[in-house]
């Protein structure tokens, strides 16, 4: 049992370094889901941010930072937008960060422009979000970082001639569908059908959708569902319908093999192939140190996942921007500081693309394996330093 800790409005105040009279206080507005079904994401990112802060007290150039947290609750957009408006007008924040759901980031984007407050996105993955405001930078990933290479890989390496797609019916879901379709069909594959599987708010009974795919018999079944509760249900349904025995390979972006959910999955999860940029099982010294620090801080039974890393890297980006501007944070200054910023993240080398203000990182091909009685991610291939393929290929709204 874990007692949910109180989320105090002001949680982190870090002291002035001795003798630094020029230090500024930087107010950072954090918009994350802290309640409802999505609170688990808020918790991951929150922990990632706090871990970075506690490990790197001097990374902020001696400036004080103050995190002002607001609950974005649902992915509906309006609550997050009101929170952002309030953070800008009432709390007068210098910087905005967080944003798990794409609609929330989209609704808030005009305010970042209007209020000239930079926004560092830590999850929302719809590809064209940074084009909504010149003051948005993203440290997480886009649906295309995973979906597009997955499409190519599914055809070229997994030998899938046909595929079906199941996606949760909201912006990142459609984005992921487009990403996979583009990659897969460019490589020569054929998408038999793309099935919308309900909204992101509640986990539906996936059986009817999967049954339809089972009867259609594609070689690969590409799934996008929001990270969290949906993914376990996906694998359970896949297992209970015996789709693996029919030779249908379950593939998708790494959202569906989130580290925190892996142990809840049935044994049929073994052999699933996903493309993503992070797993707590990455066998690098940098990541091992990160996972250890995480477990020391939050308990041995906790695991960081890609959201935790995004929170960590996002805070690193913010620290860099604050230090580069000596604590006097402006929207233009922040974007300039972040443009071309590189960092040795637990996920590997990352960089903010100067052109698109989006992340560049390695996309890795993950395979779910079972080792010592637990489910694990094994990296079987790497596509190095992927630029968001949506913007690289100028597809749809990505221009």
């Amino acid at each position: 049992m874990k007692i949910h800790k109180l989320l105090l409005g002001v949680t982190a105040l870090f002291g002035l370094m001795a003798g630094q009279a020029m230090a500024e206080t930087v107010k950072i507005g954090v918009v994350l889901p802290y309640s409802g079904g999505a609170a688990q994401f808020g918790e991951q990112i929150d922990r990632g941010m706090n871990l970075f802060i506690s490990q790197n007290k001097d990374a902020f150039g001696g400036n004080e930072i103050e995190l002002i947290k607001r609950d974005s609750k649902r992915p509906g957009g309006d609550i997050a937008k009101n929170a952002v408006q309030e953070l800008i007008t009432r709390e007068k924040v210098n910087l905005l960060t967080g944003f798990v759901f794409s609609p929330n980031a989209m609704a808030s984007a005009p305010l970042a422009t209007q209020g000239k407050v930079p926004m560092v996105i830590m999850n929302a993955g719809t590809a064209w979000i940074p084009s909504l405001s010149p003051y948005i930078a993203r440290v997480s990933f886009t649906m295309w970082h995973a979906g597009y290479p997955m499409g190519e890989y599914a055809h070229n390496k997994l030998g899938c001639k046909t595929a079906a797609i199941g996606f949760t019916d909201y912006p990142p879901g459609k984005d992921s569908r487009n990403a996979f379709t583009t990659g897969f069909e460019k490589a020569g594959g054929k998408v038999l059908e793309a099935i919308p599987m309900g909204g992101p708010r509640e986990v539906p009974d996936f059986t009817p959708f999967f049954q339809r795919v089972k009867n259609a018999k594609p070689d690969c079944f590409y799934i996008f569902v929001p990270a969290g509760n949906h993914s376990v249900a996906v694998v359970k349904t896949y297992a209970s319908l015996g789709m693996g025995d029919d030779g249908i390979k379950l593939i998708g972006p790494g959202d569906i093999t989130q580290d925190t959910k892996l142990q809840d999955m049935p044994k049929e999860a073994e052999g699933m192939i996903t493309v993503h940029h992070y797993s707590a099982d990455y066998d690098t010294p940098r990541n091992k140190a990160f996972v250890k620090a995480w477990k020391d801080a939050y308990g041995a039974d906790t695991t960081p996942d890609f959201m935790g890393v995004a929170g960590y890297d996002g805070m690193a980006a913010i620290a860099h921007a604050i230090t580069a501007q000596s604590g006097k944070v402006t929207a233009e200054g922040t974007m300039k500081a972040l443009s071309g910023w590189t960092y040795d993240s637990p996920r590997g080398k990352i960089m903010i693309d100067p052109e698109t203000r989006d992340i560049i990182h390695d996309s890795n091909v993950h395979k779910v394996v079972s080792k010592d009685g637990r489910m694990m991610i094994e990296v079987i291939d790497t596509i190095p330093q992927v630029k968001d393929p949506c913007k690289a290929n100028k597809i749809g709204k990505c221009k």
Partner: protein, 290 residues
Amino acid sequence: MEQFAKAAISILFDGVAYAMLLFIISVGLSITMGLMGFANLAHGAFAMLGGYVMVSLMLKAGVPFLLALVLAAIIVALISVPFERYLYRRLYKAGELDQVLLSIGLVFMATATITFFFGPSTVSISVPEFLKGQVNLGFGIFPAYRTFTIAVGLVMIVALWYGFERTITGAKIRAAVDNRRMAQSIGIDVDRLFVITFAFGSGLAALGGGLAIEILGMSPTFALTYLVFFLIVVAVGGLGSIRGAFVAALVLGIIDTAGKYLWPDGGAFFIYAVTIGILLIKPEGLFGKA
């Protein structure tokens, strides 16, 4: 043609499995609403409680699946007794607005309490080996857990039918649903009957909640998320009618499944359209008292 038959069979099977889940959870609500006239929106909270009791039993105390399922139902039934005695009872004669608000208040408190103790994430359990994978039923291969759900549903229907049609308590409940004053005047202890029925309904909800963990997942928002479905089953079936709840659950379960299978873009459109249609024609539900 073969494709069509395959589709029809899977729609029917999945629809029935879903319907059984809806039925087990909703039938208690239907009886309590029919008997006590109480619009209990917190019924889903008892189902949720059942789910969490079961998770605690299995993960913390190592109780096996089937036993935990039964224990969860019993424990929740007992927990529900003081709620009936000290809260619900005060509002039997109040309007439905007060009842709706009281029970929604309870749902909020339940959701907050569960989140406090278990966190906001979905919890899950590991079902025993024989419920994993597929079973061959002779006329086709089906997911084992759903087959089990259907079996439990059928057992519950038979048990309920027997309990209501063939036992004294059942006869008393039927009498009280039909005409409470008359039942009281011939010496039926309606107060006691209310407690028993309420506890029984809540226990059934908990059983359904326990069964639902594997199919729908269990999180603190369960009580509110699925509330609408439970209410629809009750309203469409008709208050206080076991047969009604069963038929309504079947209709809605199968139509919802078919809608998703045949027209995934339509979302949950079907189930609400059908609900409105049925209620407009039969406002008291399919088997309700006119």
